[in-house]
Symmetry: C2
Subunit: 351 residues, 2 copies
């Protein structure tokens, strides 16, 4: 699909982990943006249902996000130490800890589902699919996007034959898309990431991270992106399945931080007790730690308790509006047009 043909240069972030709904994706696509479904943490059958439901709501293009989870040896001692540190939390929320297992989130099945359903855009996060996976999706008519955070990942993705890159700045809420999460991972700000990646590869770039209003949309287009990917700004929409405590936290002032406390992978969320108390202990072990903490997070969510919940949010979360998603798309587009024209006037004509 031609990103330049989008009526509004706005892509909805997939919002894995409970926020994504067919209604949200449909509303964004209907308003001239590009809606996305998340397949992460979901069984393939549920994803198939979501796709069917989405297509019953709109005939416009949409996307599906798939995790590329790489099996790295889990640091056994660190994992079991972390499990011990979490036992009082499990008692507090009257649950057992989950099993800290590796799984690949049904990668192959989800790719086959995307092929079978001829999903218009399939985006990948946490790594780069192999060239044969990209080719198989291309044969089915799917466009393939990969989330990258720095120029070397961008070059690797280009070599796999993908069609566009989602450039994720460190401002973004939720998981960092690094191909490898480790002490040497780079945390580039969004503007810098776009400029450095635009100088390294020739692919269309979708800019993600802290973009929550139209001024920022115009900004990333100036930097060379063809569209902005917007997450937090859609999380208060009635179509989103954001939990009540998460909505309350998003709307209030509150600092965000990167943490491995909830999932074993760096992710940005609003600072809460669980992050403060466990952030320093959590090992880089994804998705093992995700499974370990799942029962605690579920219990906290059910209790409406924001203290032990992963409150994923980008740095600009307080800019989110509690408005229908289609209205958000249109209002971001309108603000962006004004901002770009004002900047053009400020700069004056070409000399």
């Amino acid at each position: 699909m031609d990103l330049l043909a989008l009526q509004e240069p706005i892509v909805q972030a997939p919002l894995s982990g409970g926020v994504s709904t067919p209604a949200l994706a449909a509303a964004v696509s209907q308003a001239g943006g590009l809606g996305f479904l998340a397949s992460g943490y979901k069984a393939p059958a549920g994803v198939k249902d979501d796709l069917r439901q989405l297509r019953s709501l709109t005939a416009e293009p949409y996307g599906l996000n798939i995790f590329v989870q790489q099996s790295v040896p889990a640091p056994a001692a660190a994992l079991s130490a972390y499990a011990s540190a979490l036992r009082p939390e499990a008692q507090r929320y009257q649950v057992d800890l989950g099993e800290p297992r590796f799984d690949d989130d049904n990668f192959a099945e989800k790719v086959e589902l995307a092929v079978g359903e001829r999903v218009p855009v399939v985006s990948f996060t946490f790594g780069c699919p192999a060239a044969d996976v990209v080719a198989r999706l291309h044969e089915a008519g799917c466009d393939v996007w990969v989330t990258v955070t720095n120029p070397s990942e961008a070059v690797q993705a280009q070599q796999s034959g993908v069609d566009a890159l989602v450039v994720q700045g460190f401002e973004a809420g939720g998981h960092r898309g690094y191909f490898t999460d480790g002490p040497d991972a780079d945390d580039l700000g969004l503007l810098v990431a776009i400029r450095l990646i635009a100088g390294s590869v020739g692919l269309p770039l979708v800019a993600a991270g802290g973009v929550a209003d139209g001024q920022s949309v115009a900004a990333v287009l100036c930097a060379g992106a063809v569209a902005a990917q917007v997450g937090s700004a859609f999380m208060l929409a009635p179509e989103a399945a954001t939990s009540a405590p998460h909505r309350a936290a998003l709307a209030a002032p509150g600092s965000t931080r990167l943490t491995r406390a909830f999932s074993g992978r760096q992710a940005r969320g609003i600072v809460n007790r669980f992050m403060r108390e466990h952030g320093d202990d959590a090992p880089a072990a994804y998705p093992q730690v995700h499974h370990l903490t799942t029962p605690i997070r579920a219990a906290a969510r059910q209790a409406g308790d924001p203290d032990a919940l992963n409150l994923w949010a980008g740095q600009a979360h307080t800019l989110a509006q509690a408005a229908p998603a289609g209205e958000i798309v249109r209002s971001l587009g309108a603000q962006a047009r004004v901002a770009a024209q004002q900047a053009s006037r400020r700069l004056g004509p070409q000399r």
Copy 2:
């Protein structure tokens, strides 16, 4: 001075610590931007000489940056432990460690100098000057700017009566301008910082951090800044006093990180051996640690050895061009005009 009257919306970052020169500031102002002198780490007499020299080179407006160093109780045990950890470095470079003392960088004298010399723009970093200092500068006809990193600092600066804010994103090279450096300091990306601060105060904003080409200049104008403050992009200019090993490091690919290893305050530099080996041990004690490491850094610089040198650089340092500063100003302005017009076209007319 009216920032909107600048021919190019480009402010040269002060570049304290050895890079700033009157020739650099003059070239930027002559080309239609706003050049800046650094007073940080310099004796007032030397700053006075720089001001005279600058005025002999240009009749255009310029700025002077002054540090606002707050005396916080130094963590004595942590400081002496850090000094012990640095002793092998001192031996290696055949110097004695410096005395880890507090000083205020001659704040009062430098303010009086700015008043006496009627400096057009006086910017402050590391804190907010008291309202009476701002008033005194205003009486002398000086505009007053303060560097801020988040909305609460911006509100505090506005209450002191300042004329404009330099909004520093975490992408910026050199020291973070937090009023207080500590574990709770926020590290907002530049775009987010501008958007959140624009929503909190009504002052003109100058956007700093990772802006090293015209596309990024256009981007920060879309976000609502009236000008961009550019640092790394000027550091390879012949007018800059950047040391040879620093120039080589800026031009090569290389990750940057925040570290307290060199100065005791978070600052962004290109990762080198000293940062890797000492970054985790360095206490938050500025400028004590700065003085402690000064002899090591000076010896390394003299030896052309980049391993123990503070290689301050923003995240976009590889975009820096080795061109005369005036040419850089004009080329950034020209790129910005093209970028803003392309974004406007992409977005289409207002509906």
